[in-house]
């Protein structure tokens, strides 16, 4: 029952830290070849969802089905925890993307053309031998995109890829994302700039811990939905009661020991009508 290559199916997915859900009961399928924007206020669980998909954050409840091979997913974290003081050349950084092809021991030299091509695709011609510490913020982000190109993955997850990047660089990188989309790759990007989302991303998932809306961008990014997302995302309740809702309606091990009507901290009711709408 595994989904087709490039698809990610989420079943009653709850992700979080310390039992507090940061993404709560998310159901839906990211179709192969989708170009999906993840939108929501700070703390809405956008990063957590991406980390959950790559396996950095364990599922508290529910599950994620994605097509099997490990090299299927490439992930660009928000502020990469990369040690930029490390004495490494730009070419070597990009060459990390070759891991699935060369592993720990095979030579990287035969792939030099691939690497140089990726660097020129992001506008970093002639930067091969520069130490990574000498790149500017935008150039470094371009280098990380070159590494994504080299990874050649079916699914690409981008966590706020344009933070701290100037207009020209983000326009270049958006063009690259468009090219990936035309190649049929699945792309999920957490973003803040709604204009960018409206003009470049056909689908949007609006998240505020609960999924608020998921579908065609124009239908999702309404003033109404955005206001509700803002209201939903605010509280982190230290004394939250144990959630009685089971994952995706399967095997309810703890059938509603307390009714949903009493002061429940996650405001299920408001988000529910949209919670289970799949992407088209």
């Amino acid at each position: 029952m595994s989904p087709p290559t490039g698809a990610i199916a989420l079943h009653g997915l709850t992700l979080g830290y310390d039992r507090h859900p940061a993404v709560h009961h998310l159901d839906g399928t990211i179709q192969p070849g989708a170009l999906l924007a993840l939108v929501g206020p700070n703390g809405a669980g956008k990063s957590t969802l991406l980390k959950g998909i790559v396996g950095e954050v364990p599922c508290l409840d529910g599950r994620i089905d994605r097509s099997g091979r490990a090299d299927a997913i490439a992930y660009l974290p928000q502020s990469a925890e990369i040690d930029r003081g490390f004495p490494l050349r730009v070419l070597d950084l990009v060459a990390m993307g070759l891991w699935h092809r060369i592993g720990p021991w095979r030579r990287a030299a035969p792939y030099r053309d691939t690497l140089v091509e990726a660097l020129s695709a992001v506008g970093l011609v002639g930067f091969e031998d520069r130490p990574i510490g000498t790149l500017s913020g935008g150039q470094f982000q371009r280098a990380l995109f070159a590494r994504l190109i080299v990874q050649d993955a079916r699914i690409i997850l981008l966590d706020e890829p344009f933070t701290g990047v100037d207009g020209r660089t983000s326009a270049d990188l958006l063009r690259l994302i468009g090219a990936w989309h035309r190649q049929g790759r699945t792309i999920v990007a957490a973003l803040h700039d709604l204009t960018q989302v409206r003009s470049h991303f056909p689908q949007t998932l609006l998240l505020a811990r609960e999924p608020v809306a998921w579908g065609p961008t124009d239908a999702v990014l309404t003033a109404d939905n955005l206001a509700r997302a803002q209201a939903l995302s605010e509280a982190w309740d230290e004394d939250a009661a144990i959630c009685g809702r089971s994952a995706g309606g399967v095997a309810d091990a703890h059938p509603h020991a307390h009714p949903h009507t009493h002061a429940h901290p996650h405001s299920h009711g408001q988000a529910r009508d949209h919670a289970h709408r799949d992407a088209p």
Partner: protein, 292 residues
Amino acid sequence: MIDTLIDGLFGPFVEFGFMRRALVGCLALSLSAPPVGVFLMLRRMSLMSDAMSHAVLPGAAVGFLVAGLSLPAMTLGGLAAGLAVALLAGAVTRSTIIKEDASLAAFYLISLAAGVVLISLRGSQIDLLHILFGTVLALDDPALLLLGGIATITLFGLAALYRPLVMECVDPLFLRTVSRAGGPVHYAFLGLVVLNLVGGFQALGTLLAVGLMLLPAITARFWATDLSGMIPVSVVCAMMASVAGLTLSYRADLPTGPAIVLAAGALYVVSLLIGPRGGLVHRLIRPRHLEG
């Protein structure tokens, strides 16, 4: 003139077998420890390795209690204790709120004190000094074989781990997303660190075992921009420090281990001043900046 210089430098090695053995042992250590030190420094684990070197002591002390000043017993004990502390400190970090540096500090203080107490149970002050500061002038054949074996394992091991180890240093999250090698690589690297600490312990004693590991590695940072330069520079530094330290200790009748570490320290200070990559002198005399 040149004759006196050569005689001054190499005379003691030509003349005495124990000096030649000490030289061979130190050169073997110089081949293996500094490359490990380069990675420790780049992973900001310099002080952690120092803490781990103290952890070798109680193991060696138990070996000493069982078998006296016997090389295999003390080596095995040190190896076991070092690995145990490295793993335990990692486990404590993962399962409690204590950070790795704090848990290592706790472990090494306990083990240093336990080691000294254990040795005092049976040995004399002299034995204690030997274990704390090493007996590089008394290296016998098994000890030399051990140091050579450690150097061989370390160089092959580093070559095999090189790519994932670099990735784990630069971008651990990326390595985690593309492969599960991160954990095993980390522990294999810690194993190499402990192996070299045990080797350093034979020559320089537990207190100075990291001397030939870290000082040359830190020195190399002032001379080379990338790993492929830093590793050879660090090895050459360690070899120079070994020769200079041994000669110095022979001529001036100084304790050998500390003399070698001091020689490495002198190289470090000189590099700090005149090293082309960020040396102090180059900050003072600044050439005009280039065209934009």
